[in-house]
Subunit: 188 residues, 2 copies
Amino acid sequence: MALDRDHALRAAAALLTRKSTATMDEVAKAAGISRATLHRQFAGRDALVRALEALGIAECETALEAARLDENPAEDAVRRLVREVEPAAGLLAFLYTENQLFEGEEQHAGWARIDDRITAVFRRGQQNGEFRIDLTPAWLTEALFGLLASGAWMVQSGKGAPKDFTRMIAELLLGGALRRDETQREGS
Amino acid sequence: MALDRDHALRAAAALLTRKSTATMDEVAKAAGISRATLHRQFAGRDALVRALEALGIAECETALEAARLDENPAEDAVRRLVREVEPAAGLLAFLYTENQLFEGEEQHAGWARIDDRITAVFRRGQQNGEFRIDLTPAWLTEALFGLLASGAWMVQSGKGAPKDFTRMIAELLLGGALRRDETQREGS
DNA sequence: CCCACATGAGACACTCATGTCTCATCGCGG
DNA sequence: CCGCGATGAGACATGAGTGTCTCATGTGGG
């Protein structure tokens, strides 16, 4: 049963990532179950989205662990983070825009914790002297999520290749568009 | 009448920017007119969104003109572009996510033209030697829109100050998070 | 073999936004 | 002063999505 629930959750994630307005009918069909069963596993659309949010948070935290954010240099930590979080980017993009709708309600505490951990890497990088100090850690964190969403959409619309995903995001976030005269790290 | 329509359009833009799911009732109330009148000006919600799209495209093109994208250096052109497009960022963020929903339908041709012009700047910057060549112009363009949306949301949620908006986006897009040893341009 | 339980299919009521309509009112020009 | 046009208010039908319910089926364990 728990397995069925997880299966339905994954299917919902995959579908809603592509079509954020999909109905419960469509989600059920995508999961290969009936709408009734879907309703037995998730009280309603709202509960489903909440569950997806929890899934997204969990995957984010897994990625945070795998990225070993506390190891130096911070630059490499950020690269690892982008790489590890890539599989969840589509789901995150969905949740990211979904969150724009939660007007009054405060967001899930999990996001705050994730935000804090990512913000901390950027702050450490600044204190290290690795990162410039005129871009706030909060903005860098927000920009990371924005770029993840942009990248996910770009891949989805076929305007970009999935294999470039990680590099494009990490390189832009860290290095920017301007060419660096000093020879920096090349490619992967 | 045309003035009324424009007034309603602006009000709708302002509201939908904040709450993308606002109903026709709410839009009408925000514009200070009745739902009936709103319907007389825009055949339906769809027509309203289309009109907003046209408005967004128009504002984008105005910004493109004001940014004088064809002047060198490309770096400054991009900075001007970010500055000029800033007032429209909220509307663009709305349209950006709205476009994710248009599954089958091809997008407005205006976007393609705007995309082309922005892409061209990045390409020119690469040929100039100003920009690195391992980030595709298409990705840089997409990233610009993504960062604009992130910035707009950040300002809206109060997590960032509006006055930093332009700098944060332009600096990240162009320079990235890494510190540059060589002394570059400072501040504005 | 039989029963319990999960499932699928579908009916049903309800909510909500939309689109259309009518009608009274108001303002402005002839 | 009269009438026209635009507007606001509201009723109404419609459609979509949701949530709840019932019932038949089928499958697996006792």
